[in-house]
């Protein structure tokens, strides 16, 4: 029997270094983390970029120097030189109480392989007066078949005992320049490596020097956090219980969450997150109101905070005191704050208005991806995201409550305040004489009248919209829960009856067929009405976005089709070009088209118009879309063209008189305009809507 052993090709070293970590930036950050683990109070990173002189490359170098505890010969042999296995135990804190990051050593390989030669010099705290040096010449590995063939020597030399312990890693012969984006990432990475948002007992500072200096290096996280308007704090206890509180910028407690507030939100915003997967965590978020009145230093401070948020906004994640990239990087909104704001815009922070962190400790279950791009997704990470989202949603509800209270107070005190102001003005008028006094009195009275009229109009409109809103909600619930399923069953049962009759008795089937067709046609019309109702109340349709007008008009017509067919209305449609886009909400366009179509249908129905026809014509002229809707009904009669837009004005007994008012208000929201003609080419009314387009570029 012959003995054999498994060996690895030297080529694997290159592949591991290059392919598992395509950019050396993560590797450099891993080396910085090694310094953190070595209890270094400070670490300096110096990069001299390669240059081209006279067509030849002058290689650059990288130096990472720390004043940590250094490495003994055993540390070199049993730890640093073993790639893929961490000697560190993350559950045992270091001398300074730091929790080692527990790197597998693969990340640093990519940094070490940046150049041709690596020199590691270390002065161990455990053996003062000695200095160990290890040199790795990668060319020797590249020439060898397996790494084991290359012997490495750790040289020991004496140094004065007063020499500070620490480690210096120097990589020479670097021929690849770090790109601007990589430098930016490195800069952010080293600034955030240890939690800069909170003062640490044993701070860890990283100095970064790059030659030639990049156009811009990020500032250190300055003390601007005190300008925050709110501070949200949350935690998950070891038993999985969540807690959250909201403070004002000065630290005064405003509200504390009840457990059920967070639990319900955890389920709602966590999608598939499992409560039992929650791990202990602390969450803190500084929320800023970006208005000058919030900043004592005025615009200068506001701009400083804006800059800070641009660089560090979002929620960063720190595991055992060390940041885990890319959480909180620009474009890494892992908690989905921006999405929550889009669907629930009230008082929901987002990465450009808030920054903070989540800290996790001693979580061996959390595995980082090999390329150091975050944790491997697991139930625990899903639960963490859900916890953060629950806390965000809770603070939003608290702040909405504050606003409602304030509004209630304004309502209650408004009248009293107005009377007080009036009394003060009258007191002032006492000092006036003759016509000036009369004029002042008249102006104040007029101001009061104008305000009262405006208030009355607004109050009437609110009442109208409120009743329409209630009717809409009731209709959509009915359409969704009852009408749809019941109508579908009625229709299917009717067609099934006809099918069975036809199988048994063809003659009888011929007699029952018209009856069944009448049932199915009526049901189709009702189904179309429920579909219209449901389509109009979809929340996503109310979002402001880029919308293709032609597509919205076509989908409204599609939904209306059975209803139009039932009423025997012919639709002639000359659509707008597919790429005619406007900025606004889909529901605004739907509202315009639905109201104008239903108005036309009702007018033609009342007038008993023969061959009722609706024509929609779309056209793009310059930067505007023109959509005209006309019919062959009786036209606009018995009401002035100016009055048709007024709320409550209608020529039909059962009409709300709100359709065209809402149409005009929707068109205003879209920055467009609308005109009406009493008669058109087809004989009936014609409405022309003009909407500003956004250009594709």
């Amino acid at each position: 029997m012959a003995r054999a052993s498994l060996k690895f090709a030297s080529d694997l070293l290159r592949r591991l270094g290059e392919e598992l970590n395509p950019s050396p930036v993560n590797g450099i950050i891993e080396l910085v983390k090694n310094s953190y683990d070595a209890d270094a109070p400070r670490c300096s990173v110096t990069i001299v970029q390669p240059r081209t002189v006279g067509g030849k490359i002058v290689p650059g170098h990288l130096i990472i120097d720390d004043l940590g505890d250094g490495m003994t010969e055993k540390d070199f042999r049993d730890g640093w030189l073993i790639l893929g296995r961490s000697r560190k135990s993350s559950s045992v804190p270091t001398r300074l109480g730091r929790r080692p990051v527990g790197d597998k050593g693969l990340g640093r390989l990519s940094a070490l392989r940046m150049g041709r030669k690596v020199t590691v010099t270390s002065r161990p705290k455990k053996a003062r007066g000695t200095e160990l040096q290890l040199v790795i010449d990668w060319a020797r590995f590249d020439r060898s078949r397996t790494p084991n063939e290359v012997n490495l020597n750790i040289k020991t030399a004496s140094v004065p005992r007063s020499t500070h312990p620490g480690t210096t890693i120097r990589v020479d012969g670097i021929e690849r320049r770090l790109e601007a984006s990589e430098i930016e990432r490195l800069n952010r990475g080293v600034l955030l490596v240890a939690n800069p948002f909170e003062a640490a007992k044993e701070p860890f500072v990283v100095d970064l020097t790059i030659d030639p200096p990049p156009r811009r290096l990020l500032p250190k996280v300055p003390d601007l956090m005190k300008s925050a308007a709110f501070i949200l704090e949350g935690s998950v206890a070891t038993d999985g219980t969540m807690a959250a509180s909201l403070r004002d910028g000065g630290g005064a407690l405003l509200a504390t969450a009840k457990p059920e507030d967070l639990e319900t939100r955890f389920s709602r915003y966590g999608q598939d997150a499992q409560p039992e997967a929650r791990m202990p965590a602390r969450f803190k978020l500084w929320i800023f109101l970006l208005v000058t009145s919030e900043f004592p230093g005025g615009l200068k401070d506001l701009n400083a905070v804006r800059g800070l948020l641009q660089e560090f906004g979002g929620v960063h994640v720190f595991l055992d005191g060390v940041r885990v990239a890319p959480y909180g990087d620009p474009n890494d909104d892992w908690a989905g704050m921006a999405g929550m704001r889009a669907s629930n815009p009230e008082y929901m922070p987002q990465p450009r208005t808030a920054m903070g962190y989540v800290t996790l400790e001693d979580q061996p279950g959390l595995k980082q991806k090999t390329d150091r791009s975050g944790f491997l997704e697991s139930p625990a990470t899903e639960a963490l995201r859900a916890f953060v989202r629950a806390a965000l949603s809770w603070q939003s509800s608290v702040r909405i409550g504050f606003r409602d209270n304030t509004e209630q107070q304004v309502r209650q005190t408004g009248k009293v305040e107005r009377e007080q102001i009036s009394a003060q003005l009258n007191a002032l008028f006492l000092g006036l004489q003759g016509t000036a006094k009369d004029k002042a009195h008249a102006l104040v009275k007029r101001l009061g009248d104008v305000s009262s009229r405006q208030e009355a109009v607004l109050s009437r409109e609110i009442e109208l919209y409120r009743s329409l809103g209630t009717a809409g909600i009731a209709a959509s619930v009915f359409a969704h829960e009852s009408a749809n399923n019941s109508l579908a069953r009625i229709r299917n049962n009717a067609t099934a009856v006809q099918f069975r009759v036809k199988k048994k008795d063809k003659l009888l089937a011929e007699q029952t067929s018209p009856l069944v067709v009448r049932v199915t046609e009526d049901v189709d019309g009702l189904l179309a009405v429920s579909e219209i109702t449901l389509s109009l109340v979809k929340a996503k349709h109310r979002k402001r976005q880029r919308i293709a007008v032609a597509e919205v008009v076509s989908s409204v017509l599609d939904v209306f089709r059975p209803y139009l067919d039932l009423n025997e209305v012919t639709v002639e449609h000359q659509p707008l070009p597919k790429d005619a886009y406007i900025l606004g909400s889909r529901s605004a366009v739907e509202c315009i088209v639905v109201n104008l179509i239903t108005n036309a249908m009702q007018a033609m129905d009342l007038a008993n118009t023969s061959s009722p026809t609706i024509r929609l014509e779309g056209e793009v002229k310059g930067k505007r879309a023109y959509l005209s809707i006309m019919d062959n009904g009786p036209g606009i009669k018995d009401i002035s063209l100016n009055d048709i837009w007024l709320p409550g004005e209608t020529t039909r007994d059962e009409g709300t008189g709100l359709g065209l008012t809402i149409v005009r208000s929707s068109i205003r929201d879209l920055n467009g305009r609308i005109s009406a003609e009493a008669t058109s080419l087809l004989g009936g009314a014609r409405f022309t809507v003009v909407l500003p387009l956004i250009l594709k570029d």
Binding site: N485, E531, R546
Partner: protein
């Protein structure tokens, strides 16, 4: 020849009954109700195999009473991949199915729940596609897709081989989870798309290369 066994999967008993009637009337098959909740792509696939099911009618909305944590679309796509002819039933517009663009390739047949008399035609369509007979407008081609614009909610994509001027709107989260990275405007990626689709609503994007 023994009667075909077609499953009726819905979260409401009244709807299961309605589907069963359609199966018995129009397909002249034995209707088999699904009885192993919660319904997940895996559990339904296993049940289909164990219960010797020849085809499936499954509703899109399966949330009531914790019937299923998945959508009917996800389960139907999995069944199709396991070569089980499946028809997805829904009360809504097909184009309105959220994230439908990523699943539509594996959903050859849709049926409105109010038009169950069309079940035979849709079941034939599903069976044909399971056997490799794919209509030209549903044939998938590997092609390049460009991200034209992106925000936290949605990404606007252009599939030049389908239409160089029509934006396809997808959820940013769904796109990023498929690409396994953050997306940015100008980025391009490869995927299999039915570039012969009649309209944007019938388009699918599948086998995204990350």
């Amino acid at each position: 020849m023994s009667q075909l066994r077609i499953a009726a999967i819905d979260d409401q008993a009244a709807s299961v009954q309605m589907l069963s009637t359609a199966i018995e009337d129009y397909l002249e098959a034995q209707a088999v109700p699904f009885d192993r909740t919660p319904a997940t792509p895996d559990s339904v696939s296993r049940w289909v195999k164990d219960a010797k099911i020849d085809g499936v009618l499954i509703d899109q909305d399966l949330r009531k009473g914790n019937f299923s944590p998945s959508s009917g679309m996800e389960i139907a796509a999995e069944l199709f991949k396991r070569r089980c002819p499946t028809v997805l039933t829904t009360m809504h517009q097909i184009a309105d199915l959220q994230d439908g663009i990523w699943y539509r390739r594996y959903l050859p047949a849709f049926l409105s729940k109010a038009r169950l008399e069309n079940v035979e035609k849709e079941m034939q369509r599903a069976t044909a596609e399971v056997h490799g007979q794919v209509a030209d407008e549903r044939k998938a081609y590997r092609t390049v897709i460009r991200v034209d614009d992106v925000d936290a909610q949605k990404a606007l994509l252009i599939v030049p081989a389908f239409s160089p001027s029509e934006w396809i709107t997808v959820s940013t989260r769904a796109l990023e989870s498929r690409l396994k990275k953050n997306v940015a405007a100008g980025m391009r990626f490869m995927a299999e798309v039915n570039i012969g689709a009649q309209s944007r609503d019938e388009l699918f994007i599948s086998e995204v290369e990350s």
